[in-house]
């Protein structure tokens, strides 16, 4: 059974984000980029499923700029067998979840995996949409915010524990299915030197939007990106009357 994992190259989680002076976006020049933490978790889960003998191949795919290849290599160093890079040259107004979902659908139709695993969201845009959209486009069942995944090869189903507001929800999905991973699913492994070296010879196929017959449409235009307003200092009040006055006349909430 083949598992496909979609990964994204984003600004490293630990970096202090700065907005560009022209307010068109976040500063990415000279800033450390890494694999999205949720994508790391997705990859780790796929590799564990393979190591348990329930899958034969893990394919790591990424849609983005040329440097995505570095991120795919990290995925290969963790244990994926091969990679696919769909190159986006940076044109247009941006990719966005729907375009990525369309690309993933095309890749799934090309590779025919039984399981597509993604991170629940990317830490740069926090969209949390791609997994759900792909499932919709493919008409596959989806188990999002997974905190536990148990595959049943015999029955060709997968049990997914989902982290929802009220607690945990357990679903049983028929394969093929889409799973998006949440934080508590697993702890991704470190890339050891022998594996990093092995990864250098694993293939990364380059594919274009034309090859996949996907037309990238940018429907959303980012008008401005600003930092959130700085938190104002609190004020210590001397009496309840003063509080009521402020609530009434300044905050206008009563």
């Amino acid at each position: 059974m083949k598992i496909m994992v979609a990964i994204k190259r984003v600004v490293d989680y630990a970096v202090k984000i700065r907005v560009k002076p022209d307010k068109t976006g976040v500063e990415t020049n000279n800033v450390k980029m890494s694999m999205n933490p949720f994508c790391e978790i997705a990859l780790e889960e796929a590799i564990r499923i393979k190591e348990s003998g329930l899958a034969t191949e893990v394919v790591a795919v990424s849609v983005g700029l040329a440097q995505c290849v570095d991120t795919i290599r990290t995925g290969l160093a963790m244990g994926a067998d091969r990679g696919i890079h769909v190159e986006w040259k940076g044109e247009g107004l941006g990719l966005g979840p729907l375009n990525v979902a369309k690309v993933l659908r095309a890749l799934v139709e090309m590779e025919e995996p039984r399981l597509l695993i993604l991170g629940k969201q990317a830490i740069d845009d926090d969209c949390n949409q791609t997994g759900q959209m792909v499932a919709g486009l493919l008409n596959w069942p989806q188990g999002t915010f997974a905190s536990k995944v148990v595959l049943d090869k015999e029955k060709q189903t997968v049990m997914v524990d989902r982290e929802v507001d009220g607690g945990l929800e357990t679903l049983c999905l028929d394969l093929p299915a889409v799973i998006t991973t949440d934080l508590r699913l697993n702890q991704p492994r470190y890339a050891t030197l022998p594996n990093i070296m092995k990864a250098k010879s694993k293939p990364i196929k380059k594919v274009t939007f034309e090859d996949l017959k996907v037309k990238v449409k940018s429907d959303i235009e980012v008008i401005q990106v600003t930092e959130p307003p700085k938190r104002k200092a609190g004020v210590i009040l001397s009496s309840v009357d003063e509080l009521i006055n402020k609530l009434k006349n300044e905050a206008r909430v009563i």
């Binding site: 490293d12 989680y13 630990a14 970096v15 202090k16 000279n30 800033v31 450390k32 890494s34 694999m35 933490p37 570095d70 990290t74 160093a77 702890q187 470190y190 890339a191 050891t192 030197l193 022998p194 990093i196 070296m197």
Partner: protein, 319 residues
């Protein structure tokens, strides 16, 4: 532009680091205690730290200081010029004098520019001789980008894994005899990464290391550093600790640990870790409780503390 920082002695190292971060510079020294130690104290004790192998000691980085003598006289040696050969360079007497000549009240320090590409790796070695050869190779092959070379023995790693939360074995499943933590800092990420990988591969092929992990993002790099910086904390949680911060010739450094282990047998755990890059060993002996009972009686040398101090003193004198 100059990167020269002038500040008062009470500034906490970590706060200075954050301030400089916004300006694009870093402090030339870094210690595990950065969250609480003050720069005046660092200067008075000539603190070394994790980056000495790259930026040198405070004698090289402190450009000037202001100190107050015991009779109240204030000595203004707070020069801020990078190169100043006028008169006698008195400030060096104060650096490392531990307050015996005067109290440092202000410091002017040269801060290196902040470089964006940092790579961290943890390596496993089978014996101390390999660690030494590895250090030499690191200085040769990584050269100008090497920014830290720390080492811990398997007992230190064991303590950290057992007593600290949120820490996991970087090279599971077992414990290796020795670990080295190497950090590179440079201006080109992919170039430095290639250099580090090539160096590690060569080291593995030459049998100097048996395994290695490279951090793939800042979080992993921080967790690697947490292991090394967390050893003192883990020791504290394990019980009573006798701490020795020694600078020894590199070849003899670990002999001390092994001899102490032999002398103390089962009565205490001896761990060694430290800034191998500059020959500085932290020898720590961990016992389950303090035993000063026989301290005042010179004839009765049974207490653990007495044994330790006598042994260390004689070994240090002999080396």
């Amino acid at each position: 532009v100059s990167g020269i920082l002038v500040c008062e002695a009470g500034c906490v190292l970590e706060n200075l680091e954050s301030f400089l971060d916004n300006e694009g510079f870093v402090m030339p020294l870094d210690l595990g205690a950065k969250g609480s130690c003050q720069i005046g104290g660092n200067v008075s004790t000539n603190a070394g730290g994790l980056r000495l192998v790259r930026y040198g000691s405070l004698h090289g980085n402190v450009l000037g200081l202001e100190a107050v003598l015991a009779d109240g006289t204030m000595l203004d040696m707070l020069g801020t010029l990078r190169k100043d050969n006028t008169g006698y360079d008195l400030k060096h007497l104060f650096i490392g004098s531990e307050g015996s000549l005067g109290i440092v009240t202000k410091v002017s320090i040269l801060t290196p520019p902040k470089l964006s590409a940092v790579n961290v790796a943890i390596l496993a070695c089978d014996d101390y001789v390999s660690c030494q050869k590895l250090l030499l190779e690191a200085k040769r092959k990584l050269g100008e980008v090497l920014s830290a070379f720390e080492f811990l023995d398997s007992q230190s790693m064991d303590l950290v894994l057992n007593y600290l939360e949120g820490v996991r074995n970087p090279l599971p499943p077992s414990l290796h005899n020795f670990y080295a933590l190497i950090e590179t800092t440079g201006s080109d990420e992919s170039y430095d990464k290639e250099k580090l990988q090539a160096f590690l591969l060569a080291s593995m092929e030459n049998g100097l290391i048996s395994d290695a992990v490279i951090a793939q993002d800042i979080n992993q790099a921080s967790s690697f550093w947490r292991i090394r910086e967390g050893v003192p904390e883990a020791l504290m949680r394990a019980g009573a600790v006798y701490k020795y911060d020694l600078s020894l010739p590199l070849e003899r450094m670990y002999d001390l640990v092994e001899q102490m282990r032999m002398r103390l047998g089962d009565s205490a755990k001896v761990v060694g870790y430290g800034h191998m890059g500059d020959g500085n060993l932290h020898l720590n002996i961990s016992a389950s409780q303090y035993d000063d009972a026989q301290r005042s009686n010179p004839l009765y040398m049974n207490g653990l503390r007495c044994t330790v101090e006598v042994s260390v003193r004689s070994m240090v004198l002999a080396s």
